[in-house]
């Protein structure tokens, strides 16, 4: 098997059908498998999932968690189930553009040609589209300079669906952290970078995939706790950054948590998080008010 495409699924067969259709349109025609791990979906959604697997032109391997175990656990099951030499991810409901795999695998071979010993993940620019909005935003990945700082700052987004690498390079990072209901991919990216892993872009700036974004149903408290867990876990590398850098990150984590609570209409908690962001870094808070008018 050449390439495994790993997709976690939970109660979203329509989204998964969209994702699989985008994979069917890929210009890269090498041997591939789609591995779907269903994380304890409701019975009617599992039935729809079974129908999709039976009718798809793609080779789909379906694994089912007997009960809902959460995203990091499901990602670990996916990682274990992959049989391909190369590996990529996609979340159910997101889409690849047709040239994605071709362009990124090409770039991966180029990097292996330059330095076979280096552990490389090929990322790519992507589109964000808030669910219910027709407007797409281009997300540009910054792979220059220090990847760890870029990941903390968010100029390099820790989105698994942007990646292609060897399966071994993903397994070398270890398992996803079960303590992280959110942002387990950020932790995974950081661990890869801390081991000396390198991120590269393919030879194109064009967005290669589309992320249908939503905060609905995602608790701000989970986001905040996950950020704090990550900051604690990676405190050694974080302490190597300046105080200003760390204060900015604290401001950012409360602001991000506030965005999630606002989008889930929890205005009291939103106000609390905004206040805590002001305490974490008053200067950054002031700039945010002046520049963005406090827009989350």
């Amino acid at each position: 098997m050449t390439l495994s495409i790993l997709i976690p699924h939970y109660n979203d067969p329509d989204g998964l059908a969209l994702t699989v259709a985008s994979i069917e349109r890929q210009t890269w025609k090498g041997e591939r498998e789609i591995v779907v791990v269903d994380d304890g979906s409701r019975a009617e959604h599992q039935a729809a999932l079974d129908r999709l697997v039976a009718t798809s032109r793609e080779r789909i391997k379906l694994v089912k968690n007997p009960q809902n175990r959460g995203r990091p656990y499901t990602r670990n099951v996916l990682l274990d189930a992959a049989e391909g030499k190369y590996l990529t991810w996609c979340d159910s409901g997101d889409e690849y553009y047709p040239r994605k795999l071709e362009v990124q695998l090409d770039a991966l071979f180029r990097e292996r040609m330059i330095d076979p010993a280096r552990s490389v993940w090929v990322t790519c620019n992507s589109h964000w589209q808030w669910q219910g909005s027709g407007k797409k935003k281009v997300i540009v990945q910054d792979v220059e300079d220090d990847p760890i700082s870029n990941l903390f700052v968010g100029s390099l987004r820790a989105y698994l669906y942007t990646l292609v690498g060897t399966t071994q390079s993903f397994r070398d990072v270890g398992y996803f952290d079960l303590e992280l209901p959110r942002l387990q991919d950020l932790d995974f990216f950081l661990r890869f970078a801390e081991k000396g892993g390198t991120f590269v872009l393919p030879g194109t700036d064009e967005p290669l995939c589309l992320y249908h974004k939503t905060d609905v149903g995602r608790r701000g408290q989970d986001v905040l706790n996950s950020f704090q867990h990550i900051y604690k876990k990676h405190r050694v590398v974080l302490m190597g950054r300046s105080r200003r850098f760390r204060r900015n990150r604290n401001f950012h984590l409360y602001k991000t948590a506030a965005r999630f609570t606002r989008n889930n209409r929890d205005l009291v908690t939103t106000a609390l998080y905004v206040a805590r962001s002001a305490v974490a870094n008053p200067l950054a808070f002031g700039k945010w008010l002046l520049k963005d008018g406090g827009k989350l």
Binding site: T2, L3, G30, K85, A107, F109, R112, M113, P116
Partner: protein, 265 residues
């Protein structure tokens, strides 16, 4: 057979490269499942459509070939038959050494895919074109490579002869090669004789205006034209119709350098 390596004389394949998509179309006329994996990563800054990564750096070539073969394997859909086109060898080497890259590549491919699973074919424009170039080279005093063995390989070599869209570029290259040889022979006052090195430019202009030498023009006519200081205008043609599909001719080739058989694992 898991891989077909197509060898082509540099004189006929370069300098006007045949787009790989066109070449793939040609190959599909003889092998319906043919695919030509396009290793963009391997080309670097080169504009050549072929796998010039084998040219770029002499060191570490074994690993580079191995990685390329892995790419070919990875990029080929199940049920498709991959081809690799390597136009390295010179028909008119002018005393240069035999090109070792093709047999080296074939040997690595055999080691990877298994003995007997790699087929080698030669891409020819027509049955007589290469022979004509050889004879003309001898006529103007340029050393030529023996007709056989062409490749240091124990595999049989097939000649893939034919005409069609892909051969337009080959015919332009053929014209270029003839002009290059003719430059040594023509009178100093002729178009080519006055300024050695203009051949490439003139060949490009001829290609742009769709003017090419007939691949099967008799040598005697070319020599006669060159002898009188002519510029081959009388021999130039414009293709008007596309003849039918290619034909395949089997040409047995003696091995020049036995290759190591893959070790049993």
């Amino acid at each position: 057979v898991k891989l077909t390596v197509v060898a082509g004389w540099r004189e006929l394949m370069l300098p006007i490269g045949i787009p790989l998509a066109t070449l793939e179309g040609l190959l599909r006329t003889v092998e319906p499942t043919a695919v030509l994996p396009q290793a963009a990563w391997a080309r670097g800054e080169s504009t050549s459509p072929y796998h010039t990564f084998l040219d770029d750096v002499a060191v570490d070539s074994e690993r580079r070939i191995e990685l390329f073969l892995e790419y070919v394997e990875a990029a080929t859909a199940p049920g498709a038959h991959p081809f690799v086109v390597l136009p390295y060898e010179r028909l008119i080497p002018e005393g240069g050494p035999l090109d070792a890259r093709l047999p080296r590549f074939v040997a690595r491919a055999e080691a990877r895919f298994g003995h007997g699973s790699v087929r080698l074919r030669r891409l020819e424009m027509s049955r007589g074109s290469s022979e004509l170039l050889r004879r003309l080279a001898a006529e103007v005093g340029v050393a030529t490579r023996p007709a056989s063995p062409e490749v240091g390989s124990q595999l049989d070599v097939e000649a893939l002869a034919g005409r069609g869209e892909a051969f337009d570029a080959m015919r332009s290259n053929f014209t270029h090669a003839i002009l290059e040889l003719g430059e040594r022979r023509v009178a100093a006052t002729s178009l080519f004789g006055m300024a050695p090195g203009r051949v490439g430019l003139i060949a490009e202009q001829l290609a742009a205006t769709n003017m090419r030498l007939d691949a099967d023009v008799p040598l005697e006519r070319i020599v006669a034209e060159l002898d009188k200081g002519g510029e081959l205008w009388a021999l130039l043609t414009r293709p008007v119709a596309r003849p039918p599909a290619p034909i395949i001719v089997q040409v047995p080739v003696e091995p020049a350098t036995p290759l190591k058989k893959p070790r049993a694992s």
